[in-house]
């Protein structure tokens, strides 16, 4: 039933990963050396650790050719530069998940292609905008405020809410554009709403494109020139209106655009 050889190979390759990450000293040394050369004294000052444990870590890294020693000074080998860069990326990739573990444990991520989690270092400057007991609509209000200053909009819309459409239409009246991806359910509500005629008119003017996917959407993504926001559904299928991820940096917008593109590829134009 199972291919044991294949299974064993999948684990054996983890030997170096484990060697690097099962210790705190080894990654620290690689990270420090990625900025400049160090001698033992400089390491001691930086790390506040005894010489013996620093030297032990250095010898281990030297043994597998990740660092080299020249006249008491340590530096990364080119292989070490690559390993150190990969470790840095891993730490930054995981950061967004570690600062709010509960958010990721309680929400559905099934709509997000696994590839998108390979570049989450781009989200490292994000903040979680959360409602609290003093203001239950804090995140909703903040989102509407952001949306009203949005400019050109790219939105993946899995829910139908009149407040969103009011603001979107105001933006369109100001000359902004909208590229919307949604599903049949939301589209049907949209068609039966008072907003559809206006959207169709803006579409004729070339300001609106609406596209549709044939599967259940579980992400609410908004991208503008200035920010990206991402809301998710709870695991029980209900939309979470109390928290969203906000990123106002070009990296975060880049991550969101790549995600948008994946949905775009699987969508068809409706209007």
């Amino acid at each position: 039933m199972f291919n044991e050889d294949d299974s064993r190979n999948r684990y054996d390759d983890f030997i170096t990963v484990r060697f690097l990450l099962a210790s705190k000293m080894r990654p620290l040394l690689l990270l420090l050396l990625s900025d400049r050369e160090y001698d033992l004294n400089a390491f001691r000052e930086e790390l506040d650790k005894p010489s013996a444990s620093i030297l032990h870590g250095l010898k281990e890294l030297e043994r597998i050719n990740l660092i080299k020693k020249n006249f008491k000074r340590y530096s990364l080998s080119s292989k070490g530069v690559l390993c150190s860069a990969s470790l840095k990326k891993l730490f930054m990739d995981l950061y967004i998940f570690e600062i709010n573990r509960d958010f990721w444990l309680n929400h559905s991520i099934e709509s997000i292609p696994r590839d998108s989690f390979r570049n989450t270092y781009l989200l490292k400057d994000s903040v979680f905008v959360e409602s609290d007991e003093h203001n239950l609509s804090k995140s909703f209000t903040k989102y509407l405020e952001l949306l009203s200053n949005c400019g050109n909009m790219e939105i993946i819309l899995p829910i139908f809410l009149e407040e969103h459409l009011e603001i979107i239409l105001e933006n369109l009246e100001n000359g902004d554009n909208l590229l919307l991806i949604t599903n049949e359910e939301v589209l049907s509500s949209l068609r039966n709403s008072k907003y559809y005629g206006d959207l169709a008119d803006f579409s004729k003017k070339g300001q609106v494109i609406i596209r549709k996917v044939d599967y259940d959407l579980k992400v609410f993504l908004t991208i503008c020139d200035e920010f990206m926001s991402l809301s998710l559904f709870f695991k029980d299928g209900l939309f979470d209106n109390s928290c969203f991820i906000l990123n106002e940096h070009s990296d975060g917008i880049k991550w969101a655009k790549a995600l948008f593109e994946k949905f775009f590829e699987k969508s068809v134009r409706v209007i």
Partner: protein
């Protein structure tokens, strides 16, 4: 350092135990019962059981009926750890290539996607065939239907190869260092350069800065050559891959050079 201080403890927890990693890897393909994990990994029931409960406590695995499955965090952590494993395996497999070579031409983004080169073949000259890399390079060129190349150095045979391809109507985009630009144009032939540019199947751009990478990308392959730390080009080693991921990695690098390269203005 800051990001490591946030995630280091969790990574240490997962990597401290071989068994925990094995369990996570096994669950990547979907939920399993303990006896399935036992059959896949050959670990004892008791080791699996105690570690899987620790993974549940830390939020990486959850129990659904009698099976265990990865939580979102478990899936994300093991996906990224498997990526790191692939990068390290790419570096280790071609250790000879990466060690003591100048990799300053690669950006952090390029290095981050190094696992795209997994499974590449390292072509190495030996005493029986001291021109092996050169021959391989020529062979690949000849069969190309479309070519993008970054040349940091001039070899007398390459302009001739390019000339033949351009005359055959094959699409060739070239980026070279400023100091070899004139030599390249002279050896390809001014008339052929003009003809190719006019007909749209040839472009040649140049960079005033030193180029520290040799890159050739076709529809079917990518080759990468690097400079040694002493500043000389390593003619004895060439990394070759025909995988789509590797080709797309190379195209990204080519595009970034292309953006900053200057277009040749012909009289």
């Amino acid at each position: 350092m800051y990001y490591f201080s946030v995630v280091g403890e969790e990574l240490k927890f997962l990597n401290n135990s071989d068994i925990r990693l094995k369990v996570l890897v096994d669950l990547v393909d979907g939920p399993l019962k303990i006896r399935d994990i036992n059959r896949k990994s050959l670990l004892s029931y008791s080791s699996i059981s105690s570690n899987i409960h620790k993974l549940c406590d830390e939020g990486y695995v959850e129990k659904i009926h009698n099976s265990f499955q990865l939580t979102n965090l478990g899936l994300i952590y093991i996906t990224l750890l498997m990526d790191l494993r692939d990068v390290i395996s790419t570096i280790t497999d071609n250790s000879d290539f990466w060690l003591d070579h100048d990799i300053s031409s690669l950006t952090i983004d390029d290095l981050n996607k190094l696992s795209s080169l997994e499974g590449s073949e390292l072509i190495r000259c030996n005493s029986m065939d001291i021109y092996k890399t050169h021959k391989e390079f020529k062979r690949l060129f000849k069969n190309s239907k479309q070519l993008k190349v970054i040349f940091p150095y001039l070899h007398p045979e390459y302009p001739k190869l390019i000339r033949r391809l351009v005359l055959k109507g094959i699409s060739v985009d070239l980026i070279v260092s400023r100091n070899i630009l004139d030599g390249f144009i002279r050896d390809i032939g001014n008339d052929v350069v003009k003809k190719g540019i006019y007909e749209g199947n040839f472009s040649i751009k140049y960079l005033n800065d030193d180029i520290k990478i040799a890159l050739a990308i076709s529809n079917e392959f990518i080759t990468v050559g690097l400079f040694k730390l002493d500043g000389t080009y390593d003619q004895n080693r060439l990394l070759l891959s025909n995988r789509k991921k590797a080709i797309s990695w190379g195209l990204t690098i080519f595009d970034s050079y292309d953006e900053s390269a200057l277009t040749l203005v012909l009289d």
